[in-house]
Subunit: 352 residues, 2 copies
Amino acid sequence: MKMRVTSQQVALRAGVSRTTVSFVLNNIQNSNIPEITRAKVLRAAEELGYVPNAAAKMLVSGKTQTIGIVVSHAQHLAVDAFIPQLLYSLSQHSQEAGYNLLLETVLDVSQPDAYLELVQGHHIDGLVVVNTRSDDSQLPELVRRKFPVVVLGFPRWTALQDELHYVATDTVRATKEIMRHLIDLGHKRIAHITFSPEVYYATEDRHQGYRQALEEANLEYRKNLVAYGNYSAESGFIAMQKVLKHKPTAVFAGNDTIAIGAMAAIHQAGLRIPQDIAVVGYDDIPTAPYLTPPLTTVRVSALEHGQKAIGILEKLMRGEELAQKSIDCETKLIVRQSCGAKPNAQESRVER
Amino acid sequence: MKMRVTSQQVALRAGVSRTTVSFVLNNIQNSNIPEITRAKVLRAAEELGYVPNAAAKMLVSGKTQTIGIVVSHAQHLAVDAFIPQLLYSLSQHSQEAGYNLLLETVLDVSQPDAYLELVQGHHIDGLVVVNTRSDDSQLPELVRRKFPVVVLGFPRWTALQDELHYVATDTVRATKEIMRHLIDLGHKRIAHITFSPEVYYATEDRHQGYRQALEEANLEYRKNLVAYGNYSAESGFIAMQKVLKHKPTAVFAGNDTIAIGAMAAIHQAGLRIPQDIAVVGYDDIPTAPYLTPPLTTVRVSALEHGQKAIGILEKLMRGEELAQKSIDCETKLIVRQSCGAKPNAQESRVER
DNA sequence: GTGAAAGCGCTAACAG
DNA sequence: CTGTTAGCGCTTTCAC
């Protein structure tokens, strides 16, 4: 890229000074520039194809017009369908708000505080954290320093919890609802495939909801009906094989992708869904209505999460103080065929 | 973030000048700084938690250490499993190479040249384009100006084709291989669900491979056995319903996600897979082995594509001239059960 | 109304 | 070996 056009050149061509160019191009209010000069500048900029140098702008303004997104457990991006939807939403809404998006993916093994460099190096104006980790030790520190941060999913550090802005979902409640659905269908031996404990905060809630629902229905919590996976179908498949030995009549999978794996294991064992085993998932990923059989699940809108997160972050970056620190997104029980109940027809396969 | 630590402060604390600090921190070769000074500087920087200001560095060096990723047809990010894998790979390898990643998603309706601003505003040092569009009019211009660009997927502008670096796959060959597989199984009425023509360059190849395979086997190309969808399961479902009327004995879906939708339509029609209709897909997404039945498909490694793309881009950004303008990634026919052939056991459900 | 000039934080040529 | 200095391209205060 040779032709680096600077504001200087625009000024020259328009026969004015750089100041004027800057005023015109940034629409500064208080300096009433005659329409004619204004037009000249605009025209010159247009003709030269002038685009202001981002670095220079950042340096002088201190703003980068960039939002950082940190995705922990990055492998899931490649394997589950929820995070990509989130990313899509985050990206679209950032762009709409006039921000660029810097994506940082961190593996389980990487150092957790990678994003610190992004903020300390003044790469970004705000941060969205997608999968909080138990060891996100620096996040509270950022919040304390009033750096704009929004967490997606419910954060579990009791420490700073009410200082932190987050958009989440009442996972325990939603889990209990779908468990209740299974229980009402008469199931007593309900298995659960969940996520490795300790690591996944946001998902520990599922496990908890599972327990509570059981308790409230006076059903026994059986350890051997619970198996651990990660976000992948493969892990669901393996976990289901283990759990199958203990003859569940229903399974609640920690997410839909896991449910896909679980369904495969059930089919492979020669059992039918839902006649022999009912299956329900969580998330309502786009393929859920098209599985065999269509999957009963909890709809949680990734798109809404993303939109809300950017909305909050925007305000934070403008320096607003928000009274409400958290937003709870709605969830909805979507009954299809994998649970054995009569599907709610219009929700079965909807335009998404 | 109040505490903005500058190199000045580090210099002060270490009792040296900013130059020295700069030299030490950037490991400049030719200025042999005594170990003792060096240590002092390092220590001061450490203690102050110094992180160089990105904007200042960019401004003076002209380098941003940032790679831009443009994803066209951004909706697919939320709906298909291939692009997220690509993104994951791109992100990981960028980071390994020491680059940040700026993500730009563009909808079908948005202006196609959004990325132009990224390069003209000096936001990025290099660009990866994920879904090329028919109207990427500015891309050739960038290439002509020697801006580092790598395209993922085979670009179809005959104009500048051999100036452009890309990593792709021989889609026509791979398509013909899986079609051949179906034909060898005895199928004569093979349907194809493809992507809207004109818009999706990378996928027009599938259609072409389909035709050629038919031709070579002396089978008739029947227009009513071909339907159009986009990347989603939903579109596959709808397209399959149309095509079903014309009694195919097999379907080749443009990608695995479409295949999921197609399978749902087939099941809903009361037909069995593969006994009544064989189904094959393309991509080998992570859930493909866990569908009902497990999907026969063409494996194309998104991870490899991403890695190779960043590899090339890195060299380009270093100013290297590459003799080889393109890289062809391998594909592999993965036979599972949806096609009715005997599965290749060890490929059926592999650790991915 | 418009221009001159200072300075954002950093690098690197040039002195000393 | 280390410090002084001149910009990188832009915004913005302050004079003219």
